[in-house]
């Protein structure tokens, strides 16, 4: 091995060890931790990587594009002296990039002299603005009972074969700044959209591209694509590159940005792969012990800050392996994100779209974005009441499956009817239906009116007097 100093950094010819995507280089001095390198194989092809560990006279490097074709003596590694930066510019909206931020749509490199570190920096909690403005998505199960706010991170937990892509596309198409119920619908400010695909199939990326084109959103979408056949290690960078652009758009250009990340499960697997090759002590299911911190460094890049009017709202999509919500990926995600929208297979089989399993779904920030002067005064209690009633329905269903529906008490039978109607009328809506918040509230009250009044203990008596339209409304 020999070390040559060339313009822009030092170059090492030859590597000591190659294992999977990990290279060990000896003889380099003054290497910095997390620095970017260029790896050139004997044919002159260049791929990029970064430094994972440095010691005296050696450096451990992770290649973003794998190690196929690299040889011990024929590989040259050039240290670029800086951490990974990508160019950022407004004109990147409407463009398509690979997982490292290089254009792949045939267009030129974005013209800018602004480069930002893909790792970003943590937002100081004192500089944040707590999210309070709700986003109207036109989907009852979100707006009504799991309200999404600007600056929130709300993942979709799904499984293979479920329509999470459609739901995400519908949210992106319909999202506007929420209005107080009854206020006239004005043209909402449009969101800039940053879309990052990690290890998804070409069809999925294509589906989103078509969907953005059809809704006329394509000019305000920046797509970062690392597809299933792209190098897995590149996936580690993809969400970070996307969020770096999002931060620039939101915090410097003051735009409202919606970030869709799919599929985080593939991201986690890439991380696990690197960790395994490095021989780190695994925690659960072979994932590294720092999975939580690593995911947080992605999800926490969301929110609003005091120096900008813009915001970043994140919708990560995760397919739960074997529909298991306790798998480390959904589990640690749920601990970091501000709630989750869970898709349910039973509802999907019953032909209900979107198949949002209401009970395990949650929006933690909802309480601060709804109610008086935001949506409508009764909204928080109405939501709690729907949840409580639907939870009770599940108990009644379990009972009915043992003793039969006929044996149920009169009240329980009403719960069964309520449950069915809730799924068909409230949860179910078409892919193109964009419901206003008052429509969602109205449907909810119609359903609650199927139950006897004394069952409704979460809403106030005044609200019952105003909105309840059930059989015993008179007494």
């Amino acid at each position: 091995m020999s070390v040559v100093t060339v313009q822009g950094g030092q170059e090492v010819v030859g590597v000591a060890r190659i294992e999977g995507p990990i290279l060990v280089v000896e003889g380099a001095a003054n290497v910095s931790y997390d620095e970017v390198v260029e790896i050139r194989d004997s044919r002159g092809h260049v791929r990029r990587g970064r430094v994972l560990e440095v010691g005296e006279g050696f450096a451990v490097i992770q290649s973003f594009a794998g190690s196929t074709g690299l040889s011990i003596d024929g590989t040259r590694v050039r240290f670029l002296g800086n951490t990974l930066h990508i160019p950022v510019a407004e004109e990147m909206l409407g463009r398509i990039f690979d997982g490292l931020g290089n254009p792949i749509d045939g267009g030129p490199e974005p013209l800018t002299d602004r480069y930002m570190d893909v790792n970003g920096q943590p937002i100081n909690p004192t500089a944040r603005i707590y999210p309070r403005d709700y986003i109207q998505t036109g989907i009852s199960t979100i707006d009504g009972v799991n309200t999404l706010l600007r600056g929130q991170k709300l993942p979709l937990f799904s499984g293979a074969g479920m329509p999470h892509d459609q739901l995400a596309a519908q949210i992106v198409r319909q999202a506007t700044l929420g209005k107080v119920a009854g206020a006239p619908q004005t043209e909402g400010e449009e969101f800039a959209i940053v879309f990052a695909a990690m290890g998804v199939k070409n069809d999925v990326a294509d589906y989103f591209r078509r969907s953005f084109t059809e809704s006329g959103a394509l000019t305000r979408v920046a797509m970062f694509l690392n597809l299933a056949d792209d190098p897995p290690v590149e996936r580690i960078v993809t969400p970070r590159a996307a969020l770096t652009l999002a931060e620039y758009l939101a915090y410097e250009l003051e735009k409202h940005v919606l970030v869709v990340l799919t599929d985080m499960t593939n991201y986690g697997e890439a991380l696990r792969q690197i960790s395994n090759v490095r021989g780190e002590v695994p925690s659960r299911k072979g994932y590294p012990g720092y999975l939580y911190s690593d995911l947080a460094s992605i999800y926490e890049r969301t929110g609003r800050i005091r120096t900008s009017k813009g915001s970043i709202t994140q919708i990560p999509i995760l397919t739960m392996p074997n529909d298991d919500i306790t798998h480390p990926m959904p589990d640690l995600t749920g601990y970091i994100t501000e709630g989750q929208i869970v898709l349910g297979r039973e509802l999907h089989f019953a032909g209900i779209y979107p198949p949002v399993a209401v009970l395990p779904s949650l929006s933690r920030l909802m309480k601060d974005g709804i109610g008086k002067n935001r949506t409508r005064d009764d909204h928080p209690r109405w939501g709690a009441q729907l949840y409580a009633a639907y939870a009770k329905t599940q108990d009644v269903r379990a009972l009915a499956s043992v003793i039969g529906e006929e044996e149920l008490t009169e009240v329980d039978q009403k719960y069964l009817k309520f449950g069915r109607a809730f799924e068909r009328e409230f949860v179910n809506q078409s892919f193109t239906e964009n419901r206003t918040i008052e429509r969602t509230l109205e449907i909810g009250w119609k359903l609650l009116s199927m139950l006897p009044k004394q069952e409704l203990t979460r809403v106030t008596l005044d609200e019952i007097a105003q909105y309840y339209k059930g059989d015993d409304a008179a007494n």
Binding site: S32, V54, E56, R284
Partner: protein
Amino acid sequence: MSDQVGTITWISGPVVRARGSRHVGMLELVEVGTERLVGEVIGLRGDQITVQVYEETSGMKTGAPIYGTGLPLSVELGPGLIQSIYDGVQRPLPLIEEAMGPFIKRGARFNAISREKKWRFTPKVRAGDEVKGGAILGIAMETETFEHRVMLNPDDSGTITWVASAGDYTVEDAIAKVKMGKEEKTITMLQRWPVRRPRPFVRRRGVNVPLITGQRILDTFFPVAKGGAAGIPGPFGSGKTVTQHSIAKWADAEVIVYIGCGERGNEMTEVLQEFPHLVDPRTGRPLMERTVLIANTSNMPVAAREASIYTGITIAEYYRDMGYHVALMADSTSRWAEALREVSGRLEEMPAEEGYPAYLAGRLAEFYERAGFVDNLNGTQGSVSIVGAVSPPGGDFSEPVTQHTKRYIRCFWALDKSLASARHFPAINWLDSYSEYIEDVAAWWREKTGKDWLTMRNRAMELLSEEARLSQIVKLVGPDALPYTERMVLETTRLIREGILQQNATETVDAYSSVEKQIRMLELVLYFHERGMAIIKRGAPINLIHDLPVVDTIIRAKSTITNEEMTRFDDIQKQIDQQMGQLDAEYRS
């Protein structure tokens, strides 16, 4: 004050190795690299020094210097802590924002306590007084109402030779001089204390006063004592943070230390923006005026997360030493344990369970044992109560952090996903939770309310466990198969669950229940049960009880009757008497 003690040879994430001096101390604070990032020595082998760095190490090079300070990792203590928000190693976040903008950059160095701000100091000792460690030398008003008691460092003692007269002083101005042996030491309002060393006290006292939180399921059913330790484990979305926030808001402690350890940035922002506007029901002052916040969010450097717990508990002990009751919330201890695991993994230590280091249990024990109700060195009494959140992976309580935590706490509030899904909040499962402080605090309840809390509480718990048994039967055969006496139990437990256990943290009236309101509600529900049961035994059908209008009134009482309107509960009792009286009369004949 710092000399180069070594040269960096190896870097991996937050762990750095250097070669150099053999005189660097274990747990010494060091400055790493040309940017002088804060770090702590965690291992020494020959001339090899292992350091955990409390800031991001991207871009650091081998060959860079490290500097020693000769001091262990310490916190600054003095007036000005209250209303502050710090990161895990006590750097003030507002100053970082002022200097660096909305993002936290590296190499920030600020005094934790302002050197310019002046405090009104009133001396409490005179020249010639003999003073021992911890002695209160004077008072500084930290807020309009909060007395900061300026104490002599616990390690010092001697004779006062001079005391400053009452007036305004900064924390660095001399406020007294103490002759210790031959030398005279100048005392200021500022002191330092190593975070990993518990502050001393004379002796532990028994714990028999409950920490009142205004949360009915906690105070009435699973109380924690002042000076006790409670753990609150739960899967994501079950309401750990909401419960921690409720306790931080309403607990009857004089000082609250809230540690956001590896949690969400927005949650700390919520506390920061909400607490100044909430009023402490006891002092009438904003809640922020008794709160110290430590925020090391999940995306901030992982090693500082490990330190944040110690920074918080040391500040808590400092206020305890003044004779105050302090409550410390740690959200979440699992993230702290994960930080230990990450650093341990980088050191390639042999892992024990699930990759955690073998010393996990020992560290947890050290932390929880710093809770206590004690006689202070200066003769006052104070307490530190700890409420630690635990985030078990997959909600599985058999994992190491939950299991080890259970060994060192005496109060366990088990959060339950299915209750949370049904929006039953706080989602604390009454069958899985326990408190070992119940007998200890029973006398306090009797004295305070004049009522037999212990008997009532146990009676209610008995009904709830009866309900659990009956629900099993109902699931198999339906409620109609149960005799009316058992269905009466189900009617009552519904009142307990919906009327007492459920509590809405976002509603003004319901968010905080006084102890008087709590015990009165329990008393009413049990009264309802006894009257109802008597009528059922005379042969009345259960639906007559179920349909009584007073049932709805009882369930709604929590949010319709404020803590000040206690007499309205007497009206409810009258309604029970009247409505039950009618039924009673019908079935007596």
